[in-house]
């Protein structure tokens, strides 16, 4: 681009920096908005976008160099130095598209990142640092992510243990409306899964633990009801999904207990999810009709499978990203080559040449070859200097798809002819200004 502006990216992510550095750089909400405004206020920065999640902080600058983006990180912490990666132009565009399409995520294909990029764009728009270029870029990135999601199977399967648990429960019970989830023990992963199951529509979450205080605390945290440990058997008769994660060294749910519980349940299905190591649920429980028992290895195996399958799909996704990056660049170039610009320059050069010739025909005899050339050069220089500003503006407007400015320019300079589009052009605009460029006698 002649205007010298392009997209620059400086960032760090889970791939380049340890969490100790990432958390020093990460910022959210109002803090981010202020940082954006400060960034955009610096010279050489046209537009800016900052994506900040727990796994990455990336600063995109549409401007003259990536120094400003570097500065953004180094001003936050000097430790960032050495963990930063830098991209410019098409590589920066590709990077954003890959991030939005979840190809650069820790868990490839995870769905949250697109929302986070959208949020980043929303913040940039609110801070008024997202101009036409960044808007266009982001929309393309969203479209790319959508294409990747719908045309590949990259988002298929469950990417984490609690997601696998949710999927399993869904396949057994459908939705969980009217069903109860029982949390046995106070493990962290168990609480996570219980929350995920509540999102699936579980009406009641019961929590039980050997220590009543911890049961109460956990129940309060996830919005459940604490029940005494002694009632475990009757709780099992009540709950449909049981998540077990106690620190007990033996089976808390034995095959005998499960059989007893199934009698009390009159055969209604029950699903045990055993997240504890060593295991708390006897795997033999799964042999009983309508009892489904899974341990952490079962769930972890699915996660591993999913990751392998996603890695394969990622190859197809990369091709989509590449095509979109190309299309984005081409679109931008096509817009830059707006005919009005060419026409403006052609007219001006025509005038310059004509004026130089006229002058030379009057006084050319008194000048030597060098003098003649300086006159021609002067005319050319005046044209160039005069058109430099408008050219830069028009290119910028063209690159960002602004059609008003080219239209106005066409009208102003009287070059609004066949191939140029100027929505505001009046019919007489073709003929009227034509007389103007004629030199005065």
């Amino acid at each position: 681009m002649n205007s010298g502006r392009e997209l620059h990216l400086v960032g760090l992510s889970h791939k380049s920096a340890p969490v100790a550095v990432r958390e020093k750089v990460a910022l959210g909400g109002d803090e981010l908005k202020e940082a954006l405004a400060a960034l955009a206020a610096r010279a050489g920065v046209g537009e800016a976008l900052v994506v900040s999640t727990c796994n990455r902080v990336e600063c995109y600058v549409y401007g003259e160099s990536l120094e400003e983006a570097r500065h953004f990180f180094l001003s936050r912490t000097a430790e960032a130095d050495g963990h930063l990666y830098e991209r410019s132009g098409r590589d920066a565009v590709r990077h954003l598209f890959r991030v939005a399409a979840s190809l650069d995520s820790m868990v490839v294909g995870e769905p949250q990142i697109l929302g986070q990029v959208k949020e980043a764009y929303g913040l940039a728009a609110a801070a008024q640092t997202a101009g036409t270029y960044v808007s266009r870029l982001c929309n393309r990135a969203f479209a790319t992510a959508k294409r990747v999601r719908s045309e590949t199977e990259i988002a298929r399967g469950a990417g984490s243990v609690s997601q696998v648990a949710v999927e399993l429960v869904e396949k057994i019970f459908g939705n969980l409306r009217g069903r109860a989830v029982l949390l046995v023990g106070a493990g962290k992963m168990g609480a996570l899964s219980a929350k995920a199951l509540r999102d699936l529509g579980a009406d009641r979450i019961l929590v039980t633990n050997r220590s009543p205080e911890r049961a109460r605390a956990l129940a309060a945290e996830i919005g459940g009801v604490a029940e005494p440990w002694e009632t475990l058997t009757s709780l099992l008769a009540l709950a449909d999904v049981v998540i077990v994660s106690t620190g007990a060294p033996t089976y808390v749910v034995t095959r005998d207990l499960a059989g007893q519980v199934m009698k009390a349940r009159r055969g209604r299905s029950i699903c045990f999810i055993d997240l504890a190591v060593p295991r708390n649920v006897d795997p033999a429980c799964g042999e009983i009709d309508n009892v489904y028992a899974y341990d952490i290895d079962d769930l972890q195996r699915v996660v591993t499978q999913t990751h392998a399958a996603r890695a394969e799909e990622a190859i197809r996704a990369e091709a989509i990203v590449e095509a979109e990056v190309m299309a984005f660049a081409q679109e931008r170039e096509a817009r830059a080559a707006l005919p009005v610009l060419a026409e403006l320059r052609r007219r001006a050069e025509q005038i310059a040449r004509a004026e130089a010739e006229r002058t030379l025909s009057h006084v050319g005899g008194k000048l030597d070859e060098k003098g003649r050339r300086s006159v021609e050069a002067m005319a050319q220089a005046i044209v160039n200097k005069l058109l430099h500003g408008p050219t830069a503006r028009l290119k910028e407007a063209a690159a960002s798809g602004d059609s008003d400015l080219p239209g106005a320019a066409a009208e102003l300079f009287g070059v609004g002819d066949e191939e140029t589009h100027s929505p505001r052009r009046r019919p007489d605009a073709d003929t009227g200004p034509d007389a103007h460029p004629e030199p005065r006698r």
Binding site: S150, E153, L168, K171, G174, N290, Y294
Partner: protein, 281 residues
């Protein structure tokens, strides 16, 4: 003429089956399921036209033959599956039902030799007979769909219990949904079949002057009815899931078995299937 229209209907069924199976293979293309549904609806309408034309051609006597019975049963089954699709929105069921519909319909497209009496005796031309035929065939169609759903249940249960989580796991609906659908199909099939049994014995009384004759058809129908009655009852005492699915499949196997044996047995041994020798005496 009716045969030509029936063949056109079969083409639509084939299209619907293809769309549903493709959908099952590639669930990302949800449009395929919609296409399948529309094709199935179209097939059903054309099929209805074929049956109507057939009635004009054969005066309704065709339903006393195996071929006419099958044609009509397939139509009822396809209609029932359309209703199920409307109510439950489980398009993957289509991938199981439509191919079966097509397979059952296929022989009727080429078996054109009439296998039914040319004229129906006056005595049996009663509304009760129409009700009997419709309910008997609809009952069997519902039992057939129920057994397919039970097969789906067992397949999915194998995935879920066996911790396989493969292609079938993601494509088949949840166990709860399949179990519930199975139960409802068995229950409604049972109600319809009960009506068929009652009207059947009503007709027996008209034709043979006695409602019960130890006729093989009657005996097997009663056994089937008892089995399904037991299933409906067992459901209340906690029988569901795997065991219920096996029962459903057993029940339908019995239905199929009795249909085949009764048609293979020499004519005159059974008085069902349009053999009204008893009437003519």
């Amino acid at each position: 003429m009716s045969l030509l229209v029936l063949r056109i209907a079969a083409l639509f069924y084939a299209g619907a089956a293809a769309a549903y199976v493709l959908y099952f293979a590639r669930p990302r293309h949800a449009a395929l399921a919609t296409v399948g549904q529309w094709l199935l609806t179209a097939a059903w309408v054309v099929h209805a036209a074929a049956i109507g034309l057939g009635c004009r051609e054969y005066g309704g006597a065709e339903f006393f033959g195996l071929r006419g019975g099958l044609v009509f049963m397939v139509w009822l089954g396809a209609g029932a599956s359309l209703v199920v699709q409307r109510l439950y929105r489980i398009p993957s069921i289509g991938a199981f039902i439509t191919p079966l519909v097509l397979v059952v319909l296929l022989p009727t497209l080429f078996l054109v030799k009439p296998d039914f009496p040319e004229v129906l005796p006056e005595e049996v031309r009663r509304p009760m007979l129409t009700v009997h035929i419709v309910t008997a065939l609809l009952g069997v169609a519902l039992f057939a769909i129920a057994s397919l759903v039970a097969v789906m249940y067992l397949l999915q249960e194998r995935e879920v219990k066996g911790k396989r989580f493969g292609a079938l796991f993601s494509r088949l609906p949840s166990l709860a949904a399949l179990d519930q659908l199975n139960q409802r199909l068995v229950r409604s099939g049972f109600v319809v079949y009960t009506v068929a049994l009652l009207t059947g014995s009503g007709m027996a009384k008209v034709v043979w002057k006695s409602a019960w004759q130890w006729d093989p058809q009657q005996v097997s129908s009663l056994v089937i009815w008892l089995l399904y009655a037991a299933m409906v009852q067992l459901r209340h005492t906690g029988w569901h899931g795997r065991r219920f699915a096996f029962l459903t499949i057993t029940g339908f196997a019995l239905v199929l078995g009795s249909m085949v044996t009764l048609n293979v047995l020499p004519a005159g041994f059974t008085r069902h299937g349009g053999d009204f020798s008893g009437v003519r005496k």
